[in-house]
Protein backbone atom coordinates (compact mmCIF):
# COMPACT_ATOMS: atom_id res chain seq x y z
CA UNK A 1 0.00 0.00 0.00
CA UNK A 2 2.69 2.43 1.04
CA UNK A 3 4.92 1.38 -1.81
CA UNK A 4 2.01 1.76 -4.13
CA UNK A 5 1.41 5.26 -2.83
CA UNK A 6 5.03 6.14 -3.25
CA UNK A 7 4.95 4.93 -6.82
CA UNK A 8 1.83 6.92 -7.43
CA UNK A 9 3.40 9.97 -5.88
CA UNK A 10 6.31 9.75 -8.23
CA UNK A 11 4.02 9.28 -11.22
CA UNK A 12 1.39 11.87 -10.54
CA UNK A 13 1.86 14.17 -7.60
CA UNK A 14 -1.24 16.18 -8.30
CA UNK A 15 -3.41 13.09 -8.20
CA UNK A 16 -2.12 12.11 -4.80
CA UNK A 17 -2.70 15.62 -3.49
CA UNK A 18 -6.31 15.54 -4.69
CA UNK A 19 -6.79 12.13 -3.17
CA UNK A 20 -5.59 13.58 0.11
CA UNK A 21 -8.00 16.48 -0.24
CA UNK A 22 -10.86 14.06 -0.80
CA UNK A 23 -9.87 12.03 2.23
CA UNK A 24 -9.69 15.19 4.27
CA UNK A 25 -13.11 16.25 3.05
CA UNK A 26 -14.57 12.90 3.98
CA UNK A 27 -12.84 12.99 7.33
CA UNK A 28 -14.21 16.44 8.12
CA UNK A 29 -17.66 15.40 7.08
CA UNK A 30 -17.59 12.17 9.04
CA UNK A 31 -16.07 13.28 12.33
CA UNK A 32 -16.63 17.01 12.04
CA UNK A 33 -20.19 17.05 13.38
CA UNK A 34 -19.11 15.46 16.64
CA UNK A 35 -16.54 18.19 17.24
CA UNK A 36 -18.68 21.14 16.27
CA UNK A 37 -21.82 22.62 17.87
CA UNK A 38 -25.06 20.99 16.79
CA UNK A 39 -26.18 21.84 13.31
CA UNK A 40 -29.80 21.69 14.38
CA UNK A 41 -30.21 23.27 17.80
CA UNK A 42 -31.78 26.65 17.32
CA UNK A 43 -31.26 29.69 19.41
CA UNK A 44 -33.53 32.32 17.93
CA UNK A 45 -31.92 34.85 20.21
CA UNK A 46 -28.61 34.59 18.36
CA UNK A 47 -29.81 34.98 14.81
CA UNK A 48 -27.60 36.13 11.99
CA UNK A 49 -24.48 36.91 13.93
CA UNK A 50 -21.29 37.54 12.07
CA UNK A 51 -18.21 35.33 12.39
CA UNK A 52 -16.90 35.17 15.94
CA UNK A 53 -14.84 32.99 18.21
CA UNK A 54 -17.72 30.72 19.09
CA UNK A 55 -19.24 30.69 15.63
CA UNK A 56 -16.39 30.74 13.14
CA UNK A 57 -18.70 31.40 10.23
CA UNK A 58 -21.45 33.12 12.20
CA UNK A 59 -25.01 31.97 12.71
CA UNK A 60 -27.97 31.58 10.45
CA UNK A 61 -31.59 32.68 10.63
CA UNK A 62 -32.28 30.26 13.46
CA UNK A 63 -29.17 31.09 15.36
CA UNK A 64 -27.50 27.84 14.32
CA UNK A 65 -23.78 27.62 13.74
CA UNK A 66 -23.11 28.03 10.01
CA UNK A 67 -19.85 26.09 10.08
CA UNK A 68 -21.53 23.15 11.75
CA UNK A 69 -24.26 23.28 9.16
CA UNK A 70 -21.83 23.46 6.24
CA UNK A 71 -20.14 20.35 7.57
CA UNK A 72 -23.42 18.59 8.26
CA UNK A 73 -24.64 19.64 4.81
CA UNK A 74 -21.51 18.12 3.36
CA UNK A 75 -22.46 14.90 5.00
CA UNK A 76 -25.92 14.96 3.44
CA UNK A 77 -24.90 16.24 0.04
CA UNK A 78 -21.91 13.95 -0.34
CA UNK A 79 -23.87 10.96 0.84
CA UNK A 80 -26.77 11.68 -1.48
CA UNK A 81 -24.50 12.30 -4.44
CA UNK A 82 -22.58 9.16 -3.60
CA UNK A 83 -25.72 7.06 -3.48
CA UNK A 84 -26.88 8.60 -6.75
CA UNK A 85 -23.54 7.92 -8.38
CA UNK A 86 -23.59 4.37 -7.07
CA UNK A 87 -27.12 3.71 -8.29
CA UNK A 88 -26.55 5.30 -11.67
CA UNK A 89 -23.31 3.39 -12.01
CA UNK A 90 -24.84 0.05 -11.20
CA UNK A 91 -27.94 0.58 -13.29
CA UNK A 92 -26.19 2.28 -16.17
CA UNK A 93 -23.34 -0.15 -16.41
CA UNK A 94 -25.65 -3.14 -16.28
CA UNK A 95 -27.77 -1.69 -19.06
CA UNK A 96 -24.75 -0.54 -21.03
CA UNK A 97 -22.66 -3.66 -20.66
CA UNK A 98 -25.53 -6.00 -21.43
CA UNK A 99 -26.67 -4.05 -24.45
CA UNK A 100 -23.11 -3.65 -25.65
CA UNK A 101 -22.29 -7.31 -25.26
CA UNK A 102 -25.52 -8.57 -26.78
CA UNK A 103 -25.30 -5.81 -29.35
CA UNK A 104 -28.39 -6.67 -31.31
CA UNK A 105 -30.85 -7.60 -28.61
CA UNK A 106 -30.83 -4.54 -26.45
CA UNK A 107 -31.36 -1.52 -28.63
CA UNK A 108 -34.77 -0.94 -27.05
CA UNK A 109 -33.10 -0.10 -23.78
CA UNK A 110 -30.71 2.28 -25.45
CA UNK A 111 -33.59 4.02 -27.20
CA UNK A 112 -35.15 4.61 -23.80
CA UNK A 113 -31.83 5.95 -22.58
CA UNK A 114 -31.79 8.33 -25.56
CA UNK A 115 -35.24 9.55 -24.63
CA UNK A 116 -34.09 10.26 -21.11
CA UNK A 117 -31.08 12.09 -22.42
CA UNK A 118 -33.30 14.29 -24.51
CA UNK A 119 -34.21 16.24 -21.39
CA UNK A 120 -31.67 18.57 -19.95
CA UNK A 121 -30.83 16.96 -16.61
CA UNK A 122 -32.24 19.70 -14.46
CA UNK A 123 -35.55 19.80 -16.32
CA UNK A 124 -35.98 16.06 -16.04
CA UNK A 125 -35.16 16.08 -12.36
CA UNK A 126 -37.52 18.97 -11.67
CA UNK A 127 -40.33 17.13 -13.41
CA UNK A 128 -39.58 13.89 -11.61
CA UNK A 129 -39.21 15.48 -8.21
CA UNK A 130 -42.40 17.45 -8.73
CA UNK A 131 -44.16 14.20 -9.52
CA UNK A 132 -42.84 11.98 -6.78
CA UNK A 133 -42.42 14.61 -4.11
CA UNK A 134 -39.48 16.24 -2.44
CA UNK A 135 -37.11 14.58 -0.04
CA UNK A 136 -33.87 12.68 -0.09
CA UNK A 137 -35.38 9.51 -1.45
CA UNK A 138 -37.19 11.17 -4.35
CA UNK A 139 -34.13 13.14 -5.20
CA UNK A 140 -32.02 10.03 -5.25
CA UNK A 141 -34.52 8.30 -7.50
CA UNK A 142 -34.83 11.29 -9.83
CA UNK A 143 -31.14 11.97 -10.20
CA UNK A 144 -30.30 8.32 -10.63
CA UNK A 145 -32.72 8.30 -13.53
CA UNK A 146 -31.02 11.39 -14.90
CA UNK A 147 -27.51 10.01 -14.72
CA UNK A 148 -28.08 6.40 -15.64
CA UNK A 149 -28.11 7.00 -19.42
CA UNK A 150 -24.70 8.63 -19.33
CA UNK A 151 -23.21 5.62 -17.63
CA UNK A 152 -25.10 3.31 -19.95
CA UNK A 153 -23.72 5.00 -23.01
CA UNK A 154 -20.11 4.91 -21.86
CA UNK A 155 -20.19 1.33 -20.65
CA UNK A 156 -22.01 0.22 -23.75
CA UNK A 157 -19.32 1.53 -26.06
CA UNK A 158 -16.75 -0.04 -23.81
CA UNK A 159 -18.53 -3.38 -23.92
CA UNK A 160 -18.86 -3.20 -27.69
CA UNK A 161 -15.14 -2.67 -27.87
CA UNK A 162 -14.30 -5.45 -25.43
CA UNK A 163 -16.67 -7.96 -26.98
CA UNK A 164 -14.32 -8.21 -29.95
CA UNK A 165 -11.15 -8.79 -27.95
CA UNK A 166 -9.38 -12.07 -28.35
CA UNK A 167 -9.84 -13.20 -24.78
CA UNK A 168 -13.59 -12.80 -25.04
CA UNK A 169 -13.64 -14.90 -28.18
CA UNK A 170 -11.36 -17.37 -26.45
CA UNK A 171 -13.68 -17.53 -23.48
CA UNK A 172 -16.60 -18.14 -25.78
CA UNK A 173 -14.71 -20.93 -27.50
CA UNK A 174 -13.96 -22.29 -24.07
CA UNK A 175 -17.69 -22.64 -23.55
CA UNK A 176 -18.03 -19.89 -20.98
CA UNK A 177 -21.61 -18.69 -20.88
CA UNK A 178 -22.54 -15.17 -21.87
CA UNK A 179 -23.43 -13.89 -18.41
CA UNK A 180 -20.25 -15.35 -17.02
CA UNK A 181 -18.15 -13.67 -19.69
CA UNK A 182 -19.86 -10.42 -18.83
CA UNK A 183 -18.95 -10.92 -15.22
CA UNK A 184 -15.43 -12.26 -15.50
CA UNK A 185 -14.09 -10.50 -18.58
CA UNK A 186 -16.19 -7.57 -19.72
CA UNK A 187 -16.99 -6.09 -16.33
CA UNK A 188 -13.47 -6.17 -14.86
CA UNK A 189 -12.01 -4.64 -17.98
CA UNK A 190 -14.71 -2.00 -18.25
CA UNK A 191 -14.38 -1.21 -14.58
CA UNK A 192 -11.70 1.47 -14.81
CA UNK A 193 -13.73 3.35 -17.40
CA UNK A 194 -16.84 2.92 -15.30
CA UNK A 195 -15.02 4.14 -12.23
CA UNK A 196 -13.75 7.23 -14.00
CA UNK A 197 -17.22 7.97 -15.26
CA UNK A 198 -18.85 7.31 -11.92
CA UNK A 199 -16.58 9.85 -10.28
CA UNK A 200 -17.68 12.36 -12.88
CA UNK A 201 -21.27 11.48 -12.13
CA UNK A 202 -20.57 11.86 -8.45
CA UNK A 203 -19.36 15.39 -9.13
CA UNK A 204 -22.23 16.17 -11.47
CA UNK A 205 -24.74 14.81 -8.96
CA UNK A 206 -23.27 17.05 -6.33
CA UNK A 207 -23.83 20.04 -8.59
CA UNK A 208 -27.32 19.00 -9.56
CA UNK A 209 -28.18 18.27 -5.95
CA UNK A 210 -27.04 21.81 -5.21
CA UNK A 211 -29.28 23.22 -7.89
CA UNK A 212 -32.30 21.14 -6.93
CA UNK A 213 -31.93 21.93 -3.24
CA UNK A 214 -31.48 25.55 -4.15
CA UNK A 215 -34.77 25.44 -6.00
CA UNK A 216 -36.36 23.87 -2.93
CA UNK A 217 -36.85 20.53 -4.64
CA UNK A 218 -34.16 18.57 -2.86
CA UNK A 219 -33.73 17.54 0.72
CA UNK A 220 -35.91 19.73 2.90
CA UNK A 221 -34.77 21.84 5.82
CA UNK A 222 -33.93 21.55 8.63
CA UNK A 223 -31.65 18.87 7.22
CA UNK A 224 -28.97 20.99 5.59
CA UNK A 225 -27.53 20.46 2.16
CA UNK A 226 -25.17 22.84 0.47
CA UNK A 227 -27.85 23.80 -1.99
CA UNK A 228 -30.64 24.42 0.47
CA UNK A 229 -28.25 26.35 2.69
CA UNK A 230 -27.57 28.73 -0.16
CA UNK A 231 -31.31 29.01 -0.76
CA UNK A 232 -31.92 29.71 2.92
CA UNK A 233 -29.09 32.19 2.98
CA UNK A 234 -30.19 34.16 -0.05
CA UNK A 235 -32.22 36.77 1.82
CA UNK A 236 -29.25 37.46 4.06
CA UNK A 237 -26.69 37.88 1.32
CA UNK A 238 -26.19 41.52 2.24
CA UNK A 239 -26.27 40.95 6.00
CA UNK A 240 -24.33 37.73 6.35
CA UNK A 241 -22.40 36.96 3.18
CA UNK A 242 -20.41 34.07 4.68
CA UNK A 243 -23.68 32.24 5.03
CA UNK A 244 -24.01 32.18 1.22
CA UNK A 245 -20.36 31.97 0.32
CA UNK A 246 -19.35 29.06 2.55
CA UNK A 247 -21.65 26.33 1.21
CA UNK A 248 -20.97 27.44 -2.36
CA UNK A 249 -17.24 27.18 -1.87
CA UNK A 250 -17.76 23.76 -0.35
CA UNK A 251 -19.55 22.62 -3.50
CA UNK A 252 -16.79 24.00 -5.69
CA UNK A 253 -14.09 22.33 -3.64
CA UNK A 254 -15.81 18.97 -3.61
CA UNK A 255 -16.59 19.03 -7.32
CA UNK A 256 -13.11 20.19 -8.31
CA UNK A 257 -11.63 17.42 -6.19
CA UNK A 258 -13.80 14.72 -7.68
CA UNK A 259 -13.18 15.91 -11.22
CA UNK A 260 -9.45 16.05 -10.62
CA UNK A 261 -9.41 12.55 -9.20
CA UNK A 262 -11.43 11.32 -12.12
CA UNK A 263 -9.00 12.91 -14.53
CA UNK A 264 -6.03 11.52 -12.66
CA UNK A 265 -7.56 8.09 -12.65
CA UNK A 266 -8.21 8.35 -16.34
CA UNK A 267 -4.60 9.15 -17.03
CA UNK A 268 -3.57 6.12 -15.03
CA UNK A 269 -6.06 3.87 -16.74
CA UNK A 270 -5.49 5.24 -20.21
CA UNK A 271 -1.78 5.96 -20.69
CA UNK A 272 -2.53 7.94 -23.82
CA UNK A 273 -4.33 10.51 -21.77
CA UNK A 274 -1.23 10.77 -19.67
CA UNK A 275 0.98 11.14 -22.65
CA UNK A 276 -1.27 13.97 -23.76
CA UNK A 277 -1.05 15.69 -20.44
CA UNK A 278 2.70 15.65 -20.42
CA UNK A 279 3.10 16.53 -24.07
CA UNK A 280 5.02 19.48 -25.16
CA UNK A 281 3.93 20.74 -28.45
CA UNK A 282 5.21 23.58 -30.54
CA UNK A 283 8.91 24.16 -30.50
CA UNK A 284 10.89 27.12 -31.46
CA UNK A 285 12.38 26.44 -34.82
CA UNK A 286 15.14 28.99 -34.54
CA UNK A 287 16.81 27.24 -31.67
CA UNK A 288 20.02 25.39 -32.00
CA UNK A 289 19.33 21.69 -31.85
CA UNK A 290 19.99 19.95 -28.59
CA UNK A 291 23.01 17.84 -28.60
CA UNK A 292 23.78 15.17 -26.16
Amino acid sequence: MLAWLRRLWRRDREFVVWLAVLLLLLLVVVIGPSLLPSAYVQSPGERLQGPSGTHLLGTDGYGRDVLARVVEAGRTSLLIALVIAALATVLGSVIGLVSGFYAKSASVLMRAMDALMAFPGIVLSIALVAAIGTGALSEIVALSVVFTPYMARISRSRALHLAGRGYVLAARSAGVSGPRILLTHILPNALPTILVQSLLIFAAALLLDGTLSFLGMGVQPPTPTWGNMIAEARPYLSIAPTFVVAPGLAIVLAVVTLNAISAGLRSIVDPRARALASMFVMRRERRAPRRA
Binding site: P120, I251, V255, L276
Partner: protein, 314 residues
Protein backbone atom coordinates in the same frame (compact mmCIF):
# COMPACT_ATOMS: atom_id res chain seq x y z
CA UNK B 1 -26.03 10.74 -46.54
CA UNK B 2 -29.67 11.60 -47.12
CA UNK B 3 -30.73 8.23 -45.80
CA UNK B 4 -28.63 8.83 -42.76
CA UNK B 5 -30.41 12.10 -42.10
CA UNK B 6 -33.78 10.46 -42.58
CA UNK B 7 -32.93 7.74 -40.15
CA UNK B 8 -31.80 10.25 -37.63
CA UNK B 9 -35.04 12.11 -38.11
CA UNK B 10 -36.99 8.94 -37.46
CA UNK B 11 -35.05 8.27 -34.29
CA UNK B 12 -35.67 11.82 -33.28
CA UNK B 13 -39.40 11.39 -33.74
CA UNK B 14 -39.41 8.23 -31.65
CA UNK B 15 -37.49 9.93 -28.89
CA UNK B 16 -39.84 12.88 -28.90
CA UNK B 17 -42.93 10.68 -28.67
CA UNK B 18 -41.37 8.91 -25.71
CA UNK B 19 -40.49 12.24 -24.19
CA UNK B 20 -44.03 13.54 -24.68
CA UNK B 21 -45.66 10.50 -23.18
CA UNK B 22 -43.28 10.46 -20.28
CA UNK B 23 -43.86 14.08 -19.45
CA UNK B 24 -47.63 13.78 -19.79
CA UNK B 25 -47.78 11.15 -17.14
CA UNK B 26 -45.09 12.60 -14.93
CA UNK B 27 -47.03 15.85 -14.83
CA UNK B 28 -50.27 14.14 -13.86
CA UNK B 29 -48.59 12.55 -10.88
CA UNK B 30 -47.76 15.94 -9.40
CA UNK B 31 -50.16 16.42 -6.49
CA UNK B 32 -52.71 19.21 -6.84
CA UNK B 33 -54.07 20.66 -10.04
CA UNK B 34 -54.77 23.99 -11.65
CA UNK B 35 -58.11 24.41 -9.90
CA UNK B 36 -56.54 24.00 -6.50
CA UNK B 37 -53.73 26.31 -7.45
CA UNK B 38 -55.96 29.17 -8.52
CA UNK B 39 -58.53 28.79 -5.75
CA UNK B 40 -56.08 29.56 -3.01
CA UNK B 41 -56.03 28.73 0.62
CA UNK B 42 -59.52 29.87 1.57
CA UNK B 43 -61.51 27.84 -0.92
CA UNK B 44 -63.65 24.92 0.14
CA UNK B 45 -63.61 21.57 -1.66
CA UNK B 46 -66.94 22.30 -3.37
CA UNK B 47 -65.63 25.47 -4.86
CA UNK B 48 -62.45 23.76 -6.04
CA UNK B 49 -64.59 21.04 -7.59
CA UNK B 50 -66.71 23.67 -9.36
CA UNK B 51 -63.61 25.35 -10.77
CA UNK B 52 -62.20 21.98 -11.74
CA UNK B 53 -65.30 21.18 -13.70
CA UNK B 54 -65.34 24.60 -15.36
CA UNK B 55 -61.71 24.06 -16.42
CA UNK B 56 -62.41 20.63 -17.86
CA UNK B 57 -60.03 18.87 -15.52
CA UNK B 58 -62.35 16.06 -14.52
CA UNK B 59 -62.12 14.16 -17.79
CA UNK B 60 -60.55 10.67 -17.46
CA UNK B 61 -56.78 10.59 -17.78
CA UNK B 62 -56.53 8.44 -20.90
CA UNK B 63 -59.03 10.70 -22.63
CA UNK B 64 -56.93 13.73 -21.77
CA UNK B 65 -53.88 11.90 -23.10
CA UNK B 66 -55.49 10.97 -26.39
CA UNK B 67 -56.88 14.45 -26.92
CA UNK B 68 -53.61 16.06 -26.04
CA UNK B 69 -51.53 13.83 -28.25
CA UNK B 70 -53.91 14.18 -31.13
CA UNK B 71 -53.74 17.92 -30.88
CA UNK B 72 -49.99 17.83 -30.49
CA UNK B 73 -49.62 16.08 -33.81
CA UNK B 74 -51.25 19.01 -35.54
CA UNK B 75 -49.11 21.47 -33.61
CA UNK B 76 -51.76 22.31 -31.05
CA UNK B 77 -50.32 22.27 -27.57
CA UNK B 78 -53.68 22.75 -25.90
CA UNK B 79 -54.99 25.64 -23.88
CA UNK B 80 -53.32 27.00 -20.81
CA UNK B 81 -55.36 26.97 -17.65
CA UNK B 82 -53.61 30.01 -16.30
CA UNK B 83 -53.32 32.08 -19.48
CA UNK B 84 -56.68 31.00 -20.90
CA UNK B 85 -55.10 31.09 -24.32
CA UNK B 86 -53.53 28.46 -26.58
CA UNK B 87 -50.17 27.27 -25.35
CA UNK B 88 -48.21 27.44 -28.60
CA UNK B 89 -48.07 31.24 -28.86
CA UNK B 90 -47.26 31.52 -25.17
CA UNK B 91 -44.32 29.21 -25.55
CA UNK B 92 -43.28 31.03 -28.67
CA UNK B 93 -43.22 34.32 -26.82
CA UNK B 94 -41.08 32.80 -24.09
CA UNK B 95 -38.69 31.25 -26.54
CA UNK B 96 -36.83 34.40 -27.44
CA UNK B 97 -35.04 35.03 -24.12
CA UNK B 98 -34.04 31.41 -23.71
CA UNK B 99 -32.73 31.09 -27.22
CA UNK B 100 -31.03 34.47 -27.06
CA UNK B 101 -29.22 33.48 -23.90
CA UNK B 102 -28.27 30.08 -25.24
CA UNK B 103 -26.96 31.41 -28.52
CA UNK B 104 -25.20 34.41 -27.07
CA UNK B 105 -23.51 32.37 -24.38
CA UNK B 106 -22.47 29.69 -26.84
CA UNK B 107 -21.20 32.02 -29.53
CA UNK B 108 -19.30 34.22 -27.10
CA UNK B 109 -17.86 31.20 -25.32
CA UNK B 110 -16.61 29.75 -28.56
CA UNK B 111 -15.16 33.10 -29.56
CA UNK B 112 -13.19 33.19 -26.35
CA UNK B 113 -12.36 29.53 -26.07
CA UNK B 114 -10.82 29.00 -29.48
CA UNK B 115 -8.01 31.54 -29.21
CA UNK B 116 -7.54 30.64 -25.58
CA UNK B 117 -7.13 26.94 -26.27
CA UNK B 118 -4.82 27.69 -29.15
CA UNK B 119 -2.66 29.71 -26.84
CA UNK B 120 -2.70 26.92 -24.33
CA UNK B 121 -1.87 24.25 -26.87
CA UNK B 122 0.85 26.35 -28.45
CA UNK B 123 2.68 27.30 -25.32
CA UNK B 124 2.00 24.63 -22.79
CA UNK B 125 3.17 24.92 -19.23
CA UNK B 126 3.47 28.69 -19.24
CA UNK B 127 1.40 31.03 -17.11
CA UNK B 128 -1.51 31.02 -19.54
CA UNK B 129 -1.66 27.26 -19.52
CA UNK B 130 -1.73 27.18 -15.75
CA UNK B 131 -4.29 29.94 -15.45
CA UNK B 132 -6.60 28.43 -18.00
CA UNK B 133 -6.29 25.00 -16.48
CA UNK B 134 -7.22 26.32 -13.09
CA UNK B 135 -10.04 28.39 -14.46
CA UNK B 136 -11.54 25.47 -16.32
CA UNK B 137 -11.24 23.16 -13.34
CA UNK B 138 -13.09 25.63 -11.13
CA UNK B 139 -15.40 26.88 -13.86
CA UNK B 140 -16.84 23.43 -14.37
CA UNK B 141 -17.39 23.03 -10.66
CA UNK B 142 -19.14 26.30 -9.88
CA UNK B 143 -22.89 26.06 -9.46
CA UNK B 144 -24.46 28.65 -11.75
CA UNK B 145 -27.04 29.80 -9.26
CA UNK B 146 -24.41 30.52 -6.66
CA UNK B 147 -22.16 32.38 -9.01
CA UNK B 148 -25.17 34.36 -10.19
CA UNK B 149 -26.00 35.38 -6.63
CA UNK B 150 -22.48 36.52 -5.95
CA UNK B 151 -22.10 38.42 -9.19
CA UNK B 152 -25.45 40.13 -8.70
CA UNK B 153 -24.45 41.23 -5.24
CA UNK B 154 -21.10 42.55 -6.35
CA UNK B 155 -21.77 44.04 -9.75
CA UNK B 156 -25.44 44.91 -9.68
CA UNK B 157 -26.18 45.80 -6.08
CA UNK B 158 -22.86 47.13 -4.85
CA UNK B 159 -21.52 48.80 -7.97
CA UNK B 160 -24.79 49.22 -9.80
CA UNK B 161 -22.89 48.50 -13.00
CA UNK B 162 -25.66 46.38 -14.49
CA UNK B 163 -29.33 45.83 -13.71
CA UNK B 164 -30.17 43.37 -10.98
CA UNK B 165 -32.65 41.45 -13.03
CA UNK B 166 -35.24 41.66 -15.72
CA UNK B 167 -35.44 41.42 -19.44
CA UNK B 168 -35.79 43.95 -22.17
CA UNK B 169 -35.90 42.63 -25.68
CA UNK B 170 -32.39 43.46 -26.91
CA UNK B 171 -33.49 43.31 -30.53
CA UNK B 172 -36.03 46.05 -29.95
CA UNK B 173 -34.18 48.18 -27.46
CA UNK B 174 -30.50 47.23 -27.42
CA UNK B 175 -29.44 50.05 -25.12
CA UNK B 176 -31.70 48.80 -22.35
CA UNK B 177 -31.70 45.14 -23.34
CA UNK B 178 -28.02 44.34 -23.49
CA UNK B 179 -27.12 45.43 -19.94
CA UNK B 180 -29.80 43.09 -18.68
CA UNK B 181 -28.16 40.23 -20.53
CA UNK B 182 -24.65 40.77 -19.29
CA UNK B 183 -24.77 38.98 -15.94
CA UNK B 184 -26.72 35.89 -16.98
CA UNK B 185 -24.54 35.45 -20.04
CA UNK B 186 -21.36 35.86 -18.06
CA UNK B 187 -22.51 33.23 -15.59
CA UNK B 188 -23.39 30.84 -18.38
CA UNK B 189 -20.13 31.50 -20.13
CA UNK B 190 -18.03 30.51 -17.16
CA UNK B 191 -19.33 26.96 -17.40
CA UNK B 192 -19.37 26.89 -21.17
CA UNK B 193 -15.87 28.21 -21.62
CA UNK B 194 -14.52 25.75 -19.09
CA UNK B 195 -16.12 22.79 -20.78
CA UNK B 196 -15.14 23.88 -24.27
CA UNK B 197 -11.61 24.79 -23.32
CA UNK B 198 -11.04 21.47 -21.65
CA UNK B 199 -12.32 19.54 -24.65
CA UNK B 200 -10.58 21.68 -27.21
CA UNK B 201 -7.29 21.51 -25.38
CA UNK B 202 -7.46 17.73 -25.20
CA UNK B 203 -8.45 17.54 -28.85
CA UNK B 204 -5.64 19.82 -29.90
CA UNK B 205 -3.00 18.02 -27.94
CA UNK B 206 -4.35 14.70 -29.19
CA UNK B 207 -4.22 16.01 -32.72
CA UNK B 208 -0.67 17.23 -32.24
CA UNK B 209 0.38 13.61 -31.84
CA UNK B 210 -1.18 12.46 -35.08
CA UNK B 211 1.15 10.93 -37.66
CA UNK B 212 -0.11 13.09 -40.50
CA UNK B 213 1.52 16.09 -38.88
CA UNK B 214 4.82 14.31 -39.28
CA UNK B 215 3.98 14.02 -42.94
CA UNK B 216 3.37 17.73 -43.14
CA UNK B 217 6.72 18.37 -41.52
CA UNK B 218 8.34 15.92 -43.87
CA UNK B 219 6.93 17.99 -46.73
CA UNK B 220 8.80 20.95 -45.33
CA UNK B 221 5.98 22.68 -43.53
CA UNK B 222 6.95 24.91 -40.65
CA UNK B 223 5.40 24.51 -37.23
CA UNK B 224 3.07 27.44 -37.68
CA UNK B 225 1.61 25.89 -40.76
CA UNK B 226 1.53 22.43 -39.24
CA UNK B 227 -0.48 23.83 -36.40
CA UNK B 228 -2.86 26.23 -38.09
CA UNK B 229 -3.39 24.41 -41.34
CA UNK B 230 -3.43 20.82 -40.16
CA UNK B 231 -3.81 20.30 -36.42
CA UNK B 232 -6.19 23.11 -35.59
CA UNK B 233 -8.94 22.47 -38.15
CA UNK B 234 -8.95 18.81 -37.39
CA UNK B 235 -9.11 19.46 -33.67
CA UNK B 236 -11.92 21.94 -34.08
CA UNK B 237 -14.06 19.55 -36.08
CA UNK B 238 -15.00 17.12 -33.33
CA UNK B 239 -15.21 20.05 -30.93
CA UNK B 240 -18.36 21.02 -32.80
CA UNK B 241 -20.12 18.11 -31.22
CA UNK B 242 -19.07 19.28 -27.78
CA UNK B 243 -21.30 22.27 -28.29
CA UNK B 244 -24.19 19.88 -28.84
CA UNK B 245 -23.33 17.61 -25.98
CA UNK B 246 -23.09 20.53 -23.65
CA UNK B 247 -26.44 21.91 -24.63
CA UNK B 248 -28.23 20.07 -21.88
CA UNK B 249 -26.09 21.66 -19.23
CA UNK B 250 -26.52 25.02 -20.89
CA UNK B 251 -30.30 24.80 -21.06
CA UNK B 252 -30.39 23.57 -17.49
CA UNK B 253 -28.32 26.54 -16.44
CA UNK B 254 -30.60 28.91 -18.29
CA UNK B 255 -33.68 27.46 -16.65
CA UNK B 256 -32.24 28.21 -13.22
CA UNK B 257 -30.84 31.59 -14.13
CA UNK B 258 -34.15 32.71 -15.58
CA UNK B 259 -35.72 32.37 -12.17
CA UNK B 260 -32.90 34.25 -10.51
CA UNK B 261 -32.77 37.04 -13.07
CA UNK B 262 -36.54 37.16 -13.62
CA UNK B 263 -36.19 36.54 -17.32
CA UNK B 264 -39.43 35.55 -19.03
CA UNK B 265 -38.02 32.54 -20.82
CA UNK B 266 -39.01 28.92 -21.05
CA UNK B 267 -37.44 28.14 -17.70
CA UNK B 268 -39.40 30.66 -15.69
CA UNK B 269 -42.50 29.74 -17.68
CA UNK B 270 -41.96 26.17 -16.61
CA UNK B 271 -41.55 27.10 -12.97
CA UNK B 272 -44.56 29.32 -13.05
CA UNK B 273 -46.55 26.55 -14.67
CA UNK B 274 -45.48 24.03 -12.07
CA UNK B 275 -46.72 26.30 -9.29
CA UNK B 276 -50.04 26.95 -11.03
CA UNK B 277 -50.28 23.32 -12.15
CA UNK B 278 -50.81 24.43 -15.70
CA UNK B 279 -50.43 21.02 -17.34
CA UNK B 280 -50.64 22.23 -20.89
CA UNK B 281 -47.79 24.63 -20.34
CA UNK B 282 -45.62 22.22 -18.39
CA UNK B 283 -46.01 19.66 -21.13
CA UNK B 284 -45.56 22.15 -23.90
CA UNK B 285 -42.54 23.84 -22.39
CA UNK B 286 -40.82 20.58 -21.53
CA UNK B 287 -41.41 19.18 -24.96
CA UNK B 288 -40.19 22.34 -26.58
CA UNK B 289 -37.06 22.27 -24.42
CA UNK B 290 -36.56 18.65 -25.36
CA UNK B 291 -37.14 19.49 -29.01
CA UNK B 292 -34.68 22.36 -28.89
CA UNK B 293 -32.19 20.08 -27.26
CA UNK B 294 -32.65 17.18 -29.62
CA UNK B 295 -32.97 19.26 -32.76
CA UNK B 296 -29.96 21.43 -31.99
CA UNK B 297 -27.98 18.30 -31.30
CA UNK B 298 -29.16 16.98 -34.60
CA UNK B 299 -28.07 20.17 -36.33
CA UNK B 300 -24.71 20.05 -34.62
CA UNK B 301 -24.27 16.49 -35.81
CA UNK B 302 -25.29 17.55 -39.25
CA UNK B 303 -22.74 20.34 -39.25
CA UNK B 304 -20.16 17.87 -38.09
CA UNK B 305 -21.18 15.53 -40.88
CA UNK B 306 -20.92 18.30 -43.41
CA UNK B 307 -17.59 19.52 -42.16
CA UNK B 308 -15.82 16.25 -41.66
CA UNK B 309 -15.11 14.45 -44.90
CA UNK B 310 -14.28 11.29 -42.96
CA UNK B 311 -17.93 10.90 -42.18
CA UNK B 312 -19.46 12.84 -45.03
CA UNK B 313 -17.97 10.92 -47.89
CA UNK B 314 -18.34 7.25 -47.29
Amino acid sequence: MLGLILRRLRDLAIVLVLVGTAIFFIVRVIPGDAALAVAGDQATPEQVEAIREAMGLNVPLWQQYVTWFGQLLVGDFGTSTSFHTPVAPIILSHLLPTVTLALAATVLSIAITVPLSIGVALYPRNWLWRTVNRFTAVGIAVPEFWLALLLVTVFAVTFGAVPVSGWVNPFVDPAAGIPHLILPIVVLMVGQISTFALMLRDNLIGEMLQPYLRTARAKGARERRVFYRHALPNALLPAVTVVGNNLGTLLGGIVVLETIFVIPGLGSLLFQAVSTRDYAIIQGATIVIAIIFVVLNFIVDLIYLLLDPRVRVS
